[in-house]
């Protein structure tokens, strides 16, 4: 097991809210995690869990209005990004922290060539001349495994395939050797065989560059194969935060367990899948207590009344569930007394 000691990014109680006509949506509601140098942190969750909003919040790219980072702190190398000026943020974006997005088809500007778009980032942050920046852009394209990069650099995005565009995005993101790479569902729009190529590429480059990666995904398989640690999100909150391998052998939160059971297995015949009943609550109408309580088979009165904290239950594991707290037994006793089954 690799050891990562030096913390590069520390997120504390991050809150991002959206103010719309229908009300206030707490898309991200108190997320905390740390990212160490060179490690890969996976953030998993289903749609509406707030994982993508979390990733955009880190670089302060939330569209505002209607979105707003309402609280918390994002410490990057000890300094709070939320306290920085827009100008300071610009020198961090694409330089020290970069990002790649889900849709390679729409994330590149259609009117500029791939090379130009990479060179632009290089010129901006490394103060290189046009020629050197171009040469470096071509180098980056070669590095991300694009055949005949000199030719491809001159092509516009519509002349490239989806997989190739995502490689261009990666080249652009890594061109300035960032310390943190945020990958927001980088392979969701791609076919499986291309996904395998891209994930492999990210892994290799991460090793070579020593970049820390935050990988946002809905795919537990991707987490297992690429991440060191994982945060599971549900309805804007983190429900479990643990080692990536641990989550498959020893999941703690009922939601995590439900998610794993819902996944059809490739190695096993199952007559029926164990499912999580119901649907994710509306962001405008969140339950008062634990947001998973309405779908949870173990929910007790306390779950519907108060939100559990994210607490340590093992050396590397934190869970936000009343089941793992001392109160649970009391609840149990209370139920016994009343005689409820």
């Amino acid at each position: 097991m690799k050891q990562f000691n030096e913390t590069i990014l520390e997120v504390k109680n991050l809150q991002t809210h959206f103010f719309t006509d229908e009300g206030t949506s707490k898309a991200v509601d108190g997320i905390s995690f740390t990212l160490n140098k060179g490690e890969t942190l996976g953030i998993v969750g289903e749609s509406g869990s707030g994982k993508s909003i979390t990733s955009l919040s880190l670089l302060r790219l939330i569209p505002s209005p209607p979105g707003k980072i309402a609280g918390g702190s994002i410490l990057f190398k000890g300094e709070d990004l939320l306290a920085k000026t827009e100008k300071q943020m610009r020198s961090i974006r694409g330089n020290e922290i970069s990002m790649i997005f889900q849709e390679p088809m729409t994330s590149l500007n259609p009117v500029y060539s791939a090379g130009e778009q990479i060179a632009e980032a290089i010129r901006l942050h490394q103060k290189l001349g046009k020629k050197e920046a171009w040469a470096k852009a071509v180098d980056m394209l070669r590095l991300v495994g694009i055949p005949s990069p000199e030719k491809r650099a001159k092509q516009e995005p519509h002349e490239l395939s989806g997989g190739m565009r995502q490689r261009v995005m990666i080249a652009m993101a890594l061109a300035c050797h960032p310390e943190v790479l945020i990958a927001d569902e980088p392979t969701t729009a791609l076919d499986v065989t291309i996904q395998a190529q891209i994930l492999e590429l990210i892994k290799t480059l991460q090793k070579d560059f020593g970049t820390a990666v935050i990988l946002i995904t809905h795919d537990l398989g991707v987490v297992y194969e690429t991440c060191d640690r994982v945060a599971v999100m549900y309805a804007g909150k983190m429900v479990e935060y643990t080692l990536a391998k641990e989550i498959f052998t020893n999941p703690k939160h009922p939601y995590t367990i439900g998610l794993l059971n819902s996944l059809p297995r490739l190695d096993l015949d199952q007559e029926e899948l164990t499912t999580i009943p119901g649907t994710v609550p509306s962001p405008y109408d969140m339950p008062k207590g634990c947001s998973f309580a309405p779908r949870c088979a173990h929910a007790k009165p306390i779950c519907e009344q108060a939100v559990p904290d994210l607490e340590s239950v093992g050396p590397d594991t934190e869970v936000s569930c009343w089941m793992y707290t001392p109160q649970w037994d009391k609840e149990y006793e209370a139920e016994e007394k009343v005689g409820v089954q």
Binding site: P254, I257, P277, T279, C296, H298
Partner: protein, 300 residues
């Protein structure tokens, strides 16, 4: 400890209650109401429609009554907007003129929209050579600059308000055909159309029940904006003497007679211009508001 997850409530809960047709309307009205400017546009249009209906009741004078003694009067208590070159009360003429402008607008747009929708739906749904032929015809109609097509039609049919309606209507056809075809193409691609086809529905059912209702929003928006253009075009043609003929109180024609007195009595040209502008403005901002409220991108 690995707790077993069991299904607790297999019956699915519905998100909301309340009746939905009403709710759709309410949501639309709420969005529309928030756009203050659009609301103003709606009121302007409504105001003019009421004026047109009640013109005989609210007009202080007979719009055709000639009074050469009091001609070219500037506004007075008796004639709020003054009198024209024949001593007729401008306000009364404008009020009656509202009927003409609105009629021309509605009739020509309805005519243009009807044919345009028919062509657009047919072209968009059937595609292939039918589409090619219809769209080539539309291209030809669009190749006439501005109101020149209307001018050509009027030159053949002769100047009259009826012919203006025909001309402006024909001139509106290609716009509607294009918009309807475009929307039809995008709706046709949706899976629910395939689902209904897979059930064995006929083309007629699909077009009438499934495509038409879903392309209505852009058509309504376009029709509202087109009303503005139609009223402007009709006034322009009458201004050129090719539409309504004297002594009809058509606004464009009134303006035209006012230009001869621009030096001595500018108010004759001023008031009809204001009348046209406000009505057209009303339709334009009403149409803008409708578009914003009906725009699917604005939803959620």
């Amino acid at each position: 400890m690995k707790p077993e997850v069991v299904i607790k409530n297999p019956g699915l809960k519905l998100n909301k209650k309340k009746s939905t047709k009403l709710q759709n309307w309410k949501a639309f009205y709420k969005k529309f109401k928030r756009n203050k400017l659009a609301l103003v546009g709606g009121y302007i249009v409504l105001f003019y429609i009421l004026l047109a209906i009640f013109a005989p009741l609210v007009s202080p004078h007979d719009p055709y009554e000639i009074d050469l003694v009091n001609k070219l009067q500037t506004p007075t208590m008796e004639h709020w907007m003054g009198t024209d070159d024949k001593g007729r009360d401008i306000l009364s003429r404008l009020l009656y003129g509202t009927r003409l402008s609105l009629t021309v607008g509605f009739v020509s747009v309805f005519f243009g929209a009807f044919i345009g929708i028919l062509l657009g739906l047919t072209a968009g749904y059937y595609g292939k050579w039918i589409d090619t032929i219809i769209m080539r015809i539309v291209d030809v109609l669009l190749a006439f600059p501005g109101i020149l097509l209307a001018l050509a039609i009027i030159s053949a049919l002769g100047p009259s308000l009826i012919n203006v309606m025909v001309a402006v209507g024909v001139f509106s056809i290609p716009m509607f055909a294009r918009i309807v075809r475009g929307s039809t193409l995008s709706v046709r691609k949706l899976e629910y159309i395939d689902a209904v086809r897979a059930l064995g529905a006929t083309d007629f059912t699909i077009i009438v029940k499934h495509i038409f209702p879903n392309i209505l929003s852009p058509v309504i928006v376009q029709a509202t904006l087109r009303l503005a253009t139609a009223i402007l075009s009709a006034a322009g043609l009458s201004f050129l003497g090719l539409g309504a003929q004297p002594p009809s109180p058509e606004w464009g024609a009134m303006l035209s007679s006012g230009r001869d007195y621009l030096f001595s009595a500018p108010h004759i040209a001023l008031f009809p211009g204001i009348a046209i502008s406000t009505l057209v403005l009303g339709f334009n901002i009403f149409g803008d508001g409708l578009r914003d409220a009906l725009d699917p991108r604005m939803k959620k």
